[in-house]
């Protein structure tokens, strides 16, 4: 920063020797010196403004350090929603079809069971992609326990088998709890034939990626492009980064970036994140210390889609808290309709 400013400075010509001119100074010279100075200040200021005006685009670069460029994406708000007719509402509820991929390993058995028994029942289809075969539960075996390899294989299989049946693909860890209805509401007016790549974003240097801990949402178009770029080992290598290994969520972002799909951070109409990489409990604790006068109001979105870092029992409590526990007398005029799944009693 400093060096660029120095480059734009005008060259300074020192005229004469300070000591000798001061020797001959007096009140008269002082006035003329300060007049010159003031003239100089004015000239310099005007010059700077002109430069800025003419090179308006350039100033953005100079201030880039303080200015982060995030792509933000918002949930529809009430006006968007109330404009829909009844027919449109029904059509839309049924047109948003979400396929859930949960990547698991045998060590995750407790969480796996909890996910199976709770939120995954609300996906249009949910499948568990496991590093190795486990007797207790059905899964699609990937025969690798490297997370990036697992992710690649799972996405490839999901695309090959389901590209005509689902238009949104949600990938989660077994420690994540997701509210699929809120995801569908969020996706309500988004065109799945566009390359969406949505979640809780993080910026790492120049790369903006979706943090896997909060869940990753891809539209069918993104998944299609991803499938293609998987075949290009230069852009999207199987073994992760060249020099050091990138985490799988960063690697995904790199591959998608080549295809023109960029990570977008999801927020509600108040600007709160809807994909969370922490549990409700952690977020509440932070809120209790950061803004104790407005803990719940400042903590988490009413339309939250994911939380992470939940113990299996907490998932069951969340299931009760989301789908069952409510305050009597508060009714909602929602644009979509979702019915409880069959063969379930905890929702």
């Amino acid at each position: 920063m400093r060096s660029s400013r120095a480059q734009s400075r005008l060259p300074v010509r020192v005229v004469g020797c300070p000591t000798s001119s001061r020797a001959s100074g007096g009140p008269g010279t002082m006035i003329s010196e300060s007049t010159s100075f003031v003239k100089g200040v004015l000239l310099g200021g005007i010059f700077c403004v002109l430069v800025t005006f003419l090179g308006h685009i350039k100033t953005g670069y100079w201030t880039k350090v303080r200015h982060h460029e995030h792509h933000h994406i918002q949930a529809p708000n009430q006006e968007d929603v109330s404009n829909l007719s009844e027919v449109e509402r029904v059509e839309l509820s049924q047109s948003i079809r979400v396929y859930c991929i949960i990547l698991v390993k045998p060590k995750d058995l407790g969480h796996w069971a909890a996910v199976k028994e709770t939120w995954s029942k609300h996906c249009d289809k949910a499948e568990f992609y496991s590093s190795e075969n486990v007797k207790v539960f059905d899964s699609i075996t990937l025969n690798t326990d490297d997370m990036w390899a697992m992710m690649r294989k799972a996405y490839k299989l999901a695309y090959d088998h389901y590209k005509d049946e689902y238009n949104w693909f949600f990938l989660a860890r077994p420690t994540t709890f997701a509210i699929i209805e809120n995801l569908k509401y969020f996706l309500l007016k988004k065109d799945s034939s566009q390359p969406f790549y949505i979640g809780h974003t993080v910026k790492s240097g120049d790369l903006e990626y979706v943090d896997g801990e909060g869940g990753i949402v891809l539209s069918i178009e993104s998944l299609r492009r991803l499938s293609k770029v998987f075949e290009d080992p230069d852009k999207c290598p199987e073994q992760g980064g060249m020099i050091w290994k990138l985490s799988e969520d960063k690697q995904l972002a790199v591959c998608l970036k080549y295809t023109g799909a960029f990570a977008e951070n999801a927020e509600d109409s108040e600007g709160k994140d809807v994909f969370n990489t922490k549990s409700v409990g952690s977020l509440i604790k932070e809120a209790m210390s950061n803004h104790p006068q407005q803990v719940v109001e400042g903590c988490c979105s009413d339309m939250a889609i994911t939380f992470n870092g939940l113990a299996p029992n907490h998932m069951h409590v969340m299931m009760y808290g989301v789908y069952r526990l409510r305050a009597y007398g508060h009714d909602f005029n929602d644009a979509l309709v979702f019915l409880p799944p069959a063969d379930s009693d905890n929702d």
Binding site: V12, V15, G16, E33, S34, S36, F37, K39, G40, V41, L42, L43, G44, G45, C48, T52, T59, T63, R66, H67, H70, Q78, V81, H122, E181, Y185, S269, E270, K272, G281, I284, M288, H291, Q294, V295, V296, E297, G298, C300, D302, M303, V317, Y320, G321, V322, Y323, R324, L325, R326, A327, Y328, G329, H330, D331, F332, N333, L339, P340, D345, N346
Partner: protein
Amino acid sequence: MQLLWTALGIVAGFTVIFSFLPQLDPKVLTLKSLPVLAHRVIHEHPTEDNTTAAELFSKVRILCWVMTAPQSLETKARHVRATWARRCNVVLFMSSQADAAFPAVGLGTREGRDQLYWKTIRAFQHVHQHYLAQADWFLKADDDTFVAVDNLRWLLSAHAPDRPIYFGKRFRPFVAQGYMSGGAGYVLSREALRRFVAGFQTQVCSHTSPVEDLALGRCMEKMGVEAGDSRDATGQETFHAFPPERHLRGAFPKDPSYLSYSYYPVLGGPQSCSDLTISFHYVSPEQMYELEYFTWHLRAYGYRPRRQPVPAGQTPLATKDRVQLSQPERGRTQGSGVGPFARGANHNHVTYLPRS
């Protein structure tokens, strides 16, 4: 020499203006500005219709008094004050000593577990003396009790406040009609409160024991106040003596002491808690906010609940009409599959209506 000064001036002017520029450049303002938190007491969703809740607020007036202590005001009671207490028609924090700032009422007792019944007696006397006309129902809760006040209004809407009755988590032993757990919170009708206070005036009731809930239960029985059934129409409990995880995931149905205490058959798993739960106990400060978030904020958009309750004001099934869900077969966790509320019945929705 003058040129030198001019040049210095140019540099100075340029630098000064340059450093002020970013504040003028709108691009520098971060795209994501913090949401402005409106200072509303009750948060509302944009698509939310609160008409029914608001009607009940004026029809079923509840005074809540919270049992607390000087040392717990800032560690526990303040989280109650910040959450569910705001939804009561009147709320009072009862402590041994007055605290004008909190504010807390001073009961003039000492502190300690052995003082609980004294505090309760004094608290109800205070409420009777100053607030009788301001409410129809009078709830006692601890500073680690969470209360879904809107659901309490729903339960009470079917009962007249001039009826001598009280509700809570009903325990079986020691008192013939049973008594209500202190920690899970209990609520007295106006008539029940009158009779409680009258009992002490006439000395029919006295400080028989420091065990507050049991002693109060004995007084209620003596004064002809009925111990009500607070379960919803499918037999699921609304008042709870423990936090949600213990009920939903705990081993209660097999715990002999809990089984012997519980007045009604114990249901485990998801059946242990009504959708319209009224209370949980032993709730930590952090969980108090969590439950507030679950009850009044977080929801699944567009989701039609599996169980639709009896509308407010309608009597839930009387005991004799109630389907026997699990008869005294202790240890069974599931309902026995009889009648229209049976599990295994062929519908996703269970809508229960009062029998006419």
